[in-house]
Symmetry: C2
Subunit: 300 residues, 2 copies
């Protein structure tokens, strides 16, 4: 079975289309890479690129992306609402099929070392690839941003994992790591009372006592007059979609409110939905290789 790893590099450029196009071209030209999505945001002055491939293809693609970014992006004149440390700001690697989290950690280290060596850009490892507990969270690594980086890196606790002990003058630093795929999942309630959504969100999210891999907030969809529990699932294998859905449904019932629907924003690994089917259909001894399309990939 071909190994499928996803990478979602964040590029600190969302305003100059010719620079984004050059980055996209560099990725598209890399053999074995498939570019799934490109989202540019002018306010953030940032582009999020989604690509898949195996280790060798992704390594070549990320190096090609740094080639473009270090030439064309200068953080000293970069402004935008989104926090950032570098020209290529964050590069997560995500196991999808035939590859493990361990493989993705190894890939992050390998690509990080290569980027540091070739471009002189210091690299911090984060999430599953982090070299210390205080470096796991992206927010902590990025705190102080590009402008505070010279000072921050003087602290031994923030020595880079690879590369020089000070930021690249124009390209700053990069954050690389490995994590599970995120699923953006919203549950819509049969009420316009946002308080109900807020209470349910509080009940299911990790930070206030809920599920380990759930972030959630309650909000009101003004146009539809629908209160929504807006959820980020950070590890669907350990906290599955169906359990969160059922819990929201049960909590809503307690307020006499129904669940009118749910929605997945963006992409979702098939496994997250197959797990839901398996749960609700009460499937016994089901194997992923029974899925025809998966079986086809296995004999490739």
């Amino acid at each position: 079975m071909p190994r499928i790893i996803e990478s979602v590099p964040n590029l600190s450029e969302g305003r100059r289309p010719e620079v984004v196009a050059a980055a996209v071209d560099a990725l598209r030209r890399t053999p074995g890479v498939r570019l799934l999505d490109v989202q540019s945001d002018k306010d953030h002055n940032r582009s999020v690129l989604t690509l898949v491939g195996d280790e060798a293809a992704l390594k070549a693609a990320i190096l090609a992306l740094f080639e473009v970014a270090t030439q064309k992006i200068d953080l000293r004149t970069h402004t935008g609402e989104h926090p950032r440390l570098g020209a290529v700001d964050v590069v997560p690697f995500i196991p999808i099929e035939g590859a493990s989290m361990k493989d993705c950690v190894a890939l992050a280290r390998d690509v990080g070392a290569a980027v540091a060596e070739r471009f002189g850009v210091p690299v911090f490892l984060y999430e599953e690839a982090a070299s210390a507990g205080h470096r796991r969270n992206l927010e902590d690594v990025r705190r102080g941003q590009f402008e505070g980086l010279v000072e921050k890196m003087k602290d031994p606790a923030w020595a880079p994992d690879f590369g020089p002990p000070a930021p690249h003058p124009s390209a700053g630093a990069a954050v690389m790591g490995a994590r599970m795929p995120l699923i953006a999942y919203n549950v819509n309630l049969g009420t316009s009372d946002v308080q109900v959504a807020k209470k349910i969100a509080k009940g299911i999210r990790h930070s206030s006592g809920g599920f380990r891999f759930v972030k959630a907030m309650g909000l009101l969809l003004e146009e539809r007059g629908v209160a929504q529990v807006s959820i980020n699932m950070t590890d669907f294998k350990k906290t599955p979609l169906f359990r969160v859905f059922e819990t929201v449904k049960n909590e809503a019932e307690r307020y006499g409110v129904s669940v009118v629907g749910s929605e997945i924003v963006g992409l979702v690994p098939s496994e997250a939905l197959l797990d839901a089917a398996e749960h609700f259909l009460r499937l016994e001894s089901f194997r992923p290789s029974q899925v025809l399309e998966r079986k086809i990939r296995e004999v490739e």
Copy 2:
């Protein structure tokens, strides 16, 4: 997106391993074909081969299979419990991804014409490819078997769609067509009373007033002491898995019986399970291209 069509040729040989191996080799050697499964049955003296590919690859594979079968199988000396008309007995084409039922009907006609021309084997079209209503059901086409074929083909109602008006002396005739994927699906009940399973099966199957694309019977799993509703789903797009499951669950409740689990036997198209996830999670405006693995195939 690559076109994926499945074909499940049934070969009238399940006892001589060297003949089955020659057939398997012929399929494996065909470029663009992936052989997913081989099941031989000695009692039936029959092998069921499961392969996928696009139109050109499957056409080449089926022709290669006839080459082997017409050389090595002689129906005049063939015995076995399973009814059969020919050396390659039945060849269904099944749309999986990026191909429609219409494409599969066209493929059945194209391959049927080529087989008739190259090997002098008459071909009957069945199911969605049938040229007349009385020729849709495989059982009707096959009634009388190889031994009755000379007589049967004298009836103008049973003139072949392609090829000579009489059977090939040793290879008989072949039945080709297009159909939806079958899903073998069983629901296990929390009772050893087979009568409950039989009543539920009667309620859901088409032949006694149930769902249009469901065949079902009730039986007892002796070892587990579990009554089972054993189901064949003949079109999961029109009669979905989740509806059948929910109906069995509701009918069982009426007898005070619970559903302890369900099982899928063999392969299942991912769409059948994604439909179930979509139903139970009440997903709004979900698109198949949101499934990461599918999106990857779309940009191929």
